[in-house]
Protein backbone atom coordinates (compact mmCIF):
# COMPACT_ATOMS: atom_id res chain seq x y z
CA UNK A 1 0.00 0.00 0.00
CA UNK A 2 2.77 2.44 0.88
CA UNK A 3 4.67 2.42 -2.44
CA UNK A 4 1.40 3.07 -4.27
CA UNK A 5 0.43 5.84 -1.89
CA UNK A 6 3.80 7.51 -2.20
CA UNK A 7 3.64 7.19 -5.98
CA UNK A 8 0.22 8.83 -5.94
CA UNK A 9 1.48 11.64 -3.76
CA UNK A 10 4.38 12.27 -6.12
CA UNK A 11 2.00 12.22 -9.08
CA UNK A 12 -0.36 14.72 -7.45
CA UNK A 13 2.49 17.04 -6.46
CA UNK A 14 3.99 16.88 -9.94
CA UNK A 15 0.62 17.69 -11.48
CA UNK A 16 0.06 20.54 -9.02
CA UNK A 17 3.49 22.02 -9.72
CA UNK A 18 2.94 21.88 -13.46
CA UNK A 19 -0.54 23.37 -13.19
CA UNK A 20 0.75 26.27 -11.11
CA UNK A 21 3.58 26.86 -13.56
CA UNK A 22 1.12 26.95 -16.45
CA UNK A 23 -1.17 29.30 -14.58
CA UNK A 24 1.71 31.72 -14.15
CA UNK A 25 3.10 31.49 -17.64
CA UNK A 26 0.01 31.15 -19.83
CA UNK A 27 -0.96 34.24 -21.70
CA UNK A 28 1.63 36.43 -20.03
CA UNK A 29 3.65 38.45 -22.52
CA UNK A 30 7.41 38.63 -22.22
CA UNK A 31 8.99 41.63 -23.85
CA UNK A 32 11.97 40.46 -25.82
CA UNK A 33 15.46 41.83 -26.15
CA UNK A 34 14.63 43.02 -29.66
CA UNK A 35 12.33 45.56 -28.09
CA UNK A 36 15.34 47.25 -26.58
CA UNK A 37 18.32 46.72 -28.87
CA UNK A 38 18.69 47.82 -32.45
CA UNK A 39 20.26 44.61 -33.70
CA UNK A 40 18.03 41.65 -34.37
CA UNK A 41 18.78 38.13 -35.53
CA UNK A 42 16.47 36.25 -37.90
CA UNK A 43 14.99 34.55 -34.86
CA UNK A 44 13.83 37.92 -33.61
CA UNK A 45 12.13 39.37 -36.63
CA UNK A 46 9.40 38.51 -39.08
CA UNK A 47 9.21 39.76 -42.62
CA UNK A 48 6.39 40.02 -45.11
CA UNK A 49 7.99 37.13 -46.95
CA UNK A 50 7.90 35.01 -43.80
CA UNK A 51 4.26 35.72 -43.18
CA UNK A 52 2.95 35.82 -46.73
CA UNK A 53 1.17 39.03 -45.85
CA UNK A 54 2.13 42.64 -45.24
CA UNK A 55 3.06 43.81 -41.76
CA UNK A 56 0.78 46.10 -39.84
CA UNK A 57 1.40 49.84 -40.03
CA UNK A 58 2.21 50.13 -36.36
CA UNK A 59 2.26 46.52 -35.15
CA UNK A 60 1.51 42.97 -36.18
CA UNK A 61 0.03 40.28 -33.97
CA UNK A 62 0.88 36.82 -35.22
CA UNK A 63 -0.80 33.79 -33.73
CA UNK A 64 0.72 30.39 -34.39
CA UNK A 65 -2.03 27.78 -34.31
CA UNK A 66 -2.26 24.15 -35.18
CA UNK A 67 -4.94 21.69 -35.97
CA UNK A 68 -5.01 19.93 -32.63
CA UNK A 69 -5.39 23.04 -30.56
CA UNK A 70 -8.54 23.79 -28.60
CA UNK A 71 -7.18 26.99 -26.97
CA UNK A 72 -6.28 28.47 -30.36
CA UNK A 73 -9.86 29.41 -31.07
CA UNK A 74 -10.20 31.10 -27.71
CA UNK A 75 -7.03 33.04 -28.48
CA UNK A 76 -8.43 34.06 -31.85
CA UNK A 77 -11.49 35.52 -30.15
CA UNK A 78 -9.50 37.44 -27.56
CA UNK A 79 -7.08 38.89 -30.09
CA UNK A 80 -9.76 39.86 -32.59
CA UNK A 81 -11.55 41.68 -29.82
CA UNK A 82 -8.38 43.35 -28.55
CA UNK A 83 -7.28 44.72 -31.93
CA UNK A 84 -10.74 45.76 -33.08
CA UNK A 85 -10.63 49.43 -33.88
CA UNK A 86 -6.84 49.56 -33.92
CA UNK A 87 -6.34 50.22 -37.62
CA UNK A 88 -2.57 50.15 -37.56
CA UNK A 89 -2.46 46.70 -36.03
CA UNK A 90 -2.71 43.67 -38.26
CA UNK A 91 -3.70 40.25 -36.91
CA UNK A 92 -2.52 37.10 -38.64
CA UNK A 93 -3.39 33.55 -37.66
CA UNK A 94 -0.89 31.07 -39.02
CA UNK A 95 -1.22 27.31 -39.30
CA UNK A 96 2.06 26.08 -37.85
CA UNK A 97 1.97 23.09 -40.11
CA UNK A 98 2.39 25.31 -43.16
CA UNK A 99 5.25 27.29 -41.64
CA UNK A 100 7.37 24.74 -39.86
CA UNK A 101 10.58 26.56 -40.81
CA UNK A 102 9.28 29.65 -39.03
CA UNK A 103 8.19 27.54 -36.06
CA UNK A 104 11.68 26.15 -35.70
CA UNK A 105 13.39 29.48 -36.28
CA UNK A 106 11.33 31.20 -33.61
CA UNK A 107 11.58 28.16 -31.36
CA UNK A 108 7.84 27.78 -30.99
CA UNK A 109 6.99 24.83 -28.79
CA UNK A 110 3.29 25.24 -28.10
CA UNK A 111 0.18 26.50 -29.71
CA UNK A 112 -1.20 29.02 -29.42
CA UNK A 113 1.93 31.12 -29.37
CA UNK A 114 1.26 34.80 -29.97
CA UNK A 115 4.04 37.04 -31.21
CA UNK A 116 3.82 40.82 -31.40
CA UNK A 117 6.07 42.75 -33.78
CA UNK A 118 6.66 46.44 -34.27
CA UNK A 119 6.16 48.20 -37.57
CA UNK A 120 9.50 46.84 -38.81
CA UNK A 121 8.69 43.24 -38.01
CA UNK A 122 10.96 43.06 -34.99
CA UNK A 123 9.47 40.82 -32.33
CA UNK A 124 8.83 42.87 -29.23
CA UNK A 125 6.75 40.50 -27.14
CA UNK A 126 5.55 36.93 -27.15
CA UNK A 127 3.48 34.57 -25.10
CA UNK A 128 2.27 30.98 -25.14
CA UNK A 129 -1.26 30.07 -24.16
CA UNK A 130 -4.33 32.24 -24.46
CA UNK A 131 -3.59 35.92 -23.81
CA UNK A 132 -5.97 38.28 -22.08
CA UNK A 133 -7.24 41.38 -23.80
CA UNK A 134 -5.43 43.61 -21.31
CA UNK A 135 -2.12 41.80 -21.51
CA UNK A 136 -2.17 42.07 -25.29
CA UNK A 137 -3.19 45.69 -25.36
CA UNK A 138 -0.40 46.43 -22.89
CA UNK A 139 2.22 45.36 -25.43
CA UNK A 140 0.68 47.04 -28.42
CA UNK A 141 1.85 50.54 -29.26
CA UNK A 142 -0.18 53.01 -27.26
CA UNK A 143 -2.81 54.78 -29.31
CA UNK A 144 -2.13 52.58 -32.33
CA UNK A 145 -4.57 53.76 -34.90
Amino acid sequence: MWPGLIALLIAVLAAAAFALYRRRVDGRFRTTAAAVTAETSPAERLTEGDLGAPLGRSATVVQFSSEFCAPCRAAERVITDAVAGLDGVRYLDIDSETKLDLVRRLNILRTPTVVVTDDGGRIVARTAGVPTKQSLQAVLPAGAS
Binding site: M1, P3, G4, L5, A7, L8, I10, A11, V12, A14, A15, F18, A19, R22, R23, S65, S66, E67, F68, C69, A70, P71, C72, R73, E76, D93, I94, D95, S96, E97, T98, K99, L100, D101, V103, R104, I108, L109, R110, T111
Partner: protein, 154 residues
Protein backbone atom coordinates in the same frame (compact mmCIF):
# COMPACT_ATOMS: atom_id res chain seq x y z
CA UNK B 1 -8.10 31.95 -40.09
CA UNK B 2 -5.74 29.79 -42.07
CA UNK B 3 -6.12 26.60 -40.05
CA UNK B 4 -9.53 26.11 -41.32
CA UNK B 5 -11.43 23.01 -41.84
CA UNK B 6 -13.05 23.78 -38.52
CA UNK B 7 -16.84 23.79 -38.62
CA UNK B 8 -18.52 26.96 -37.48
CA UNK B 9 -21.76 26.96 -35.61
CA UNK B 10 -23.14 24.40 -33.22
CA UNK B 11 -25.03 22.24 -35.71
CA UNK B 12 -22.09 22.03 -38.09
CA UNK B 13 -19.84 21.07 -35.20
CA UNK B 14 -22.24 18.44 -33.98
CA UNK B 15 -22.53 17.01 -37.47
CA UNK B 16 -18.76 16.81 -37.64
CA UNK B 17 -18.75 14.73 -34.47
CA UNK B 18 -17.51 17.47 -32.18
CA UNK B 19 -18.02 16.97 -28.48
CA UNK B 20 -19.00 18.77 -25.30
CA UNK B 21 -15.82 19.77 -23.51
CA UNK B 22 -17.42 19.19 -20.10
CA UNK B 23 -17.88 15.52 -20.96
CA UNK B 24 -14.16 15.30 -21.54
CA UNK B 25 -13.37 16.86 -18.15
CA UNK B 26 -15.88 14.57 -16.46
CA UNK B 27 -14.38 11.51 -18.09
CA UNK B 28 -10.90 12.67 -17.10
CA UNK B 29 -12.05 13.01 -13.49
CA UNK B 30 -13.40 9.45 -13.40
CA UNK B 31 -10.23 8.24 -15.09
CA UNK B 32 -8.10 9.99 -12.47
CA UNK B 33 -9.98 8.32 -9.61
CA UNK B 34 -9.80 4.86 -11.19
CA UNK B 35 -6.08 5.20 -11.92
CA UNK B 36 -5.41 6.57 -8.43
CA UNK B 37 -7.13 3.54 -6.91
CA UNK B 38 -5.13 1.24 -9.16
CA UNK B 39 -1.94 3.02 -8.14
CA UNK B 40 -2.51 3.09 -4.38
CA UNK B 41 -3.67 -0.51 -4.22
CA UNK B 42 -1.10 -1.55 -6.84
CA UNK B 43 -4.00 -3.50 -8.29
CA UNK B 44 -3.51 -4.61 -11.87
CA UNK B 45 -7.18 -5.55 -12.33
CA UNK B 46 -8.38 -2.02 -11.72
CA UNK B 47 -5.70 -0.85 -14.12
CA UNK B 48 -6.84 -3.43 -16.64
CA UNK B 49 -10.38 -2.12 -16.34
CA UNK B 50 -9.18 1.40 -17.13
CA UNK B 51 -7.04 0.12 -19.99
CA UNK B 52 -10.12 -1.49 -21.52
CA UNK B 53 -12.04 1.77 -21.12
CA UNK B 54 -9.19 3.62 -22.87
CA UNK B 55 -9.19 1.08 -25.69
CA UNK B 56 -12.93 1.28 -26.24
CA UNK B 57 -12.84 5.08 -26.18
CA UNK B 58 -9.99 5.25 -28.67
CA UNK B 59 -11.99 3.16 -31.10
CA UNK B 60 -15.48 4.54 -30.47
CA UNK B 61 -14.50 8.16 -29.83
CA UNK B 62 -14.84 10.14 -26.58
CA UNK B 63 -18.58 10.70 -26.97
CA UNK B 64 -19.39 7.02 -27.32
CA UNK B 65 -16.84 5.63 -24.87
CA UNK B 66 -18.01 4.31 -21.49
CA UNK B 67 -17.39 7.50 -19.50
CA UNK B 68 -18.80 9.65 -22.29
CA UNK B 69 -21.89 7.50 -22.18
CA UNK B 70 -22.27 8.03 -18.42
CA UNK B 71 -21.84 11.77 -18.96
CA UNK B 72 -24.55 11.90 -21.57
CA UNK B 73 -26.95 9.76 -19.59
CA UNK B 74 -26.52 11.24 -16.13
CA UNK B 75 -24.74 14.60 -16.19
CA UNK B 76 -25.48 16.30 -19.48
CA UNK B 77 -29.25 16.54 -18.96
CA UNK B 78 -28.58 18.62 -15.86
CA UNK B 79 -26.36 21.09 -17.67
CA UNK B 80 -27.10 23.94 -20.03
CA UNK B 81 -26.63 23.48 -23.75
CA UNK B 82 -23.00 24.06 -24.65
CA UNK B 83 -22.39 27.18 -26.72
CA UNK B 84 -19.41 25.61 -28.37
CA UNK B 85 -18.15 22.11 -29.07
CA UNK B 86 -14.64 20.72 -29.27
CA UNK B 87 -12.63 18.73 -31.76
CA UNK B 88 -12.76 15.08 -30.59
CA UNK B 89 -9.40 14.12 -32.06
CA UNK B 90 -7.07 15.48 -29.36
CA UNK B 91 -9.02 13.80 -26.52
CA UNK B 92 -9.04 10.63 -28.60
CA UNK B 93 -5.28 10.82 -28.93
CA UNK B 94 -5.04 11.40 -25.19
CA UNK B 95 -6.95 8.16 -24.64
CA UNK B 96 -4.37 6.40 -26.76
CA UNK B 97 -1.57 7.86 -24.65
CA UNK B 98 -3.43 6.69 -21.54
CA UNK B 99 -3.79 3.24 -23.07
CA UNK B 100 -0.07 3.03 -23.73
CA UNK B 101 0.79 4.08 -20.18
CA UNK B 102 -1.72 1.55 -18.85
CA UNK B 103 -0.27 -1.27 -20.91
CA UNK B 104 3.20 -0.43 -19.65
CA UNK B 105 1.81 -0.39 -16.12
CA UNK B 106 0.13 -3.76 -16.62
CA UNK B 107 3.34 -5.25 -17.95
CA UNK B 108 5.08 -3.91 -14.88
CA UNK B 109 2.55 -5.24 -12.38
CA UNK B 110 2.07 -8.64 -13.98
CA UNK B 111 5.75 -9.28 -14.54
CA UNK B 112 6.68 -8.20 -11.05
CA UNK B 113 8.65 -5.15 -12.19
CA UNK B 114 6.82 -3.00 -9.68
CA UNK B 115 8.74 0.17 -10.46
CA UNK B 116 7.50 0.08 -14.05
CA UNK B 117 3.98 -0.52 -12.81
CA UNK B 118 4.12 2.42 -10.41
CA UNK B 119 5.84 4.88 -12.75
CA UNK B 120 3.66 4.15 -15.78
CA UNK B 121 0.45 4.27 -13.76
CA UNK B 122 1.71 7.40 -12.02
CA UNK B 123 2.29 9.11 -15.35
CA UNK B 124 -1.22 8.20 -16.44
CA UNK B 125 -2.55 9.72 -13.22
CA UNK B 126 -0.64 12.96 -13.86
CA UNK B 127 -2.01 13.26 -17.39
CA UNK B 128 -5.58 12.49 -16.37
CA UNK B 129 -5.43 14.80 -13.36
CA UNK B 130 -4.09 17.72 -15.40
CA UNK B 131 -6.79 17.14 -17.98
CA UNK B 132 -9.51 17.03 -15.34
CA UNK B 133 -8.36 20.05 -13.34
CA UNK B 134 -6.96 22.54 -15.88
CA UNK B 135 -8.14 21.02 -19.13
CA UNK B 136 -4.58 20.33 -20.15
CA UNK B 137 -4.60 18.73 -23.58
CA UNK B 138 -1.63 16.40 -23.85
CA UNK B 139 -2.37 15.46 -27.44
CA UNK B 140 -2.48 19.13 -28.43
CA UNK B 141 0.86 19.82 -26.82
CA UNK B 142 2.58 16.82 -28.32
CA UNK B 143 1.22 17.48 -31.80
CA UNK B 144 3.32 20.52 -32.52
CA UNK B 145 6.44 19.01 -31.00
CA UNK B 146 5.88 15.98 -33.18
CA UNK B 147 5.50 18.17 -36.28
CA UNK B 148 8.72 20.02 -35.53
CA UNK B 149 10.69 16.82 -35.40
CA UNK B 150 9.51 15.68 -38.79
CA UNK B 151 11.41 16.96 -41.82
CA UNK B 152 9.74 19.95 -43.47
CA UNK B 153 7.21 18.76 -45.95
CA UNK B 154 5.78 22.17 -46.83
Amino acid sequence: MSTETQPEGLSAQRAAGWIDQRGQRFAAAITTVVLAVALVLQNPWVLLFQAVVFAITVVAGPAKGPYGWIFRALVRPRLSVPHELEDPRPPRFAQLVGLIFSILGLIGFFSGVWVLGLVATGCAVVAALLNAVIGFCLGCELYLLGLRVLPSRS
